[in-house]
Symmetry: C2
Subunit: 246 residues, 2 copies
């Protein structure tokens, strides 16, 4: 069996380029790391092939390329080098569901990954990313999703066009730290889009202008605001509980 | 006015050492970055002095050392170099309050910082860190607290000694992903200690053995678990709401 040992191998160099957004966009592919993510990608039909070291034994039917530890290091940004890396095609955008979370300008990859993970935990259908959000296929985003990226519909939209288009059908709820209805008191409609904003600035003014109402989270005055991953998760948790009570 | 321009300046070299845990422990001091954190530290009485560039104008009465941009770079691990860095003495441990969050072996600095921020938002008195938690004064922890580190009592304990000692007085609640009472249904006592665990392994078995009951968060089967910063925050949020209803 062939094992790639050269750091200059052409195929590996091509894959390593997928660590950069530009090449992910160009090839419509992205990398994932570790056994757990590879299995999740396989189940969801997005896995195209794997690159692995001899330490990894994985009984799956997919194209396999064996490499040395030194070579697989080229395919990751983290210090704890994985024994398996998967090459996936980018996720297909599906139709917008009924329970929608909209993220306006989110910048931190850890936050985006955490929100995707919580969204699956709390039964959200669809996540809509504004065009200025951090790249969904950034390796830190993928790691933070813990594989949940393959279990939810995620689409990218210009919010100033998208929100007016769904406004008749969906209840559009914005978040402001100091304004609005407490989240557990919101009179929720069947179809809703809940908007959360950027880490520093929150939801943009022109996006807030498109909302039907505003919500916030009950908390102590001592603290100005919550981490956006936490705030989103608490909101999705409350909406999930409401949905279960009906 | 004197401005330090040399990267070899003795004082700056001493401060730069505080980026390492070993020297923070040795000197009982730590660094904070940016105006917001400096003001929070000042209010709380932990700020000893500041190092700043000429771009920063801050009308506070504390020992000031002016340096160049190149010099202040030595005092941070981040690429976006701050214009002001504060030197603080480490936080004093105070008496354990009534509403306690216990963290068992938490490793990710972002998670610890987020939990501290949420704890202040949701009126927790005291955070107890097990001895094997990530260092509280790690720069990533401090950044993620958004200044809230100065507004809560944080202590470090050997949990296997600490928990038996408070067991008569406090309700000790552990978290397991798949066991226990749903968090909103818990019959909460006046004094409680809520235990959350490590990112990968959760709460240690020997610590779980010391609990009076277990709690979990209502969620969809599709997702195995939540990020620990999110899980902690949802729990603290629910306990805060309960407290407000009484």
């Amino acid at each position: 069996m062939e094992v790639i040992t050269s750091l200059d191998n052409k195929k590996i160099k091509e894959y390593a380029k997928l660590l950069k957004k530009k090449y992910r966009d160009l090839n419509n592919k992205f990398l994932i790391e570790g056994r757990h993510l590879v299995l999740e990608a396989l189940k969801s039909g997005y896995l195209e092939e794997v690159i692995l070291t001899y330490d990894e034994v994985i009984p799956i039917e997919v194209k396999k390329t064996y490499v040395t530890k030194e070579v697989i290091k080229k395919l990751t940004n983290v210090l704890s080098v994985p024994d398996i890396v998967g090459v996936c095609k980018k996720l297909e955008e599906k139709e917008i569901g009924d329970k929608v979370i909209v993220l306006d300008g989110l910048q931190d990859p850890g936050n985006l990954g955490t929100i995707i993970r919580s969204a699956v935990a709390f039964g959200v259908d669809t996540i809509v990313l504004s065009n200025d959000c951090v790249d969904l296929y950034n390796d830190k985003v993928i790691r933070a999703t813990q594989g949940m990226i393959f279990h939810i519909n995620i689409v990218k939209r210009n919010l100033l066009e998208f929100l007016p288009r769904i406004k008749n059908e969906y209840q559009i709820i914005g978040t402001k730290v100091t304004h609005g209805i407490e989240i557990s008191d919101i009179d929720l409609q069947d179809k809703y889009a809940f908007i959360l904003g950027n880490e520093g600035q929150g939801v943009k003014e022109e996006v807030l202008d498109l909302c039907d109402c505003y919500a916030n989270i009950l908390m102590d005055d001592m603290c100005e605001s919550l981490n956006v991953g936490v705030a989103s998760s608490i909101i999705m948790y409350e909406l999930y509980k409401k949905g279960r009570k009906v």
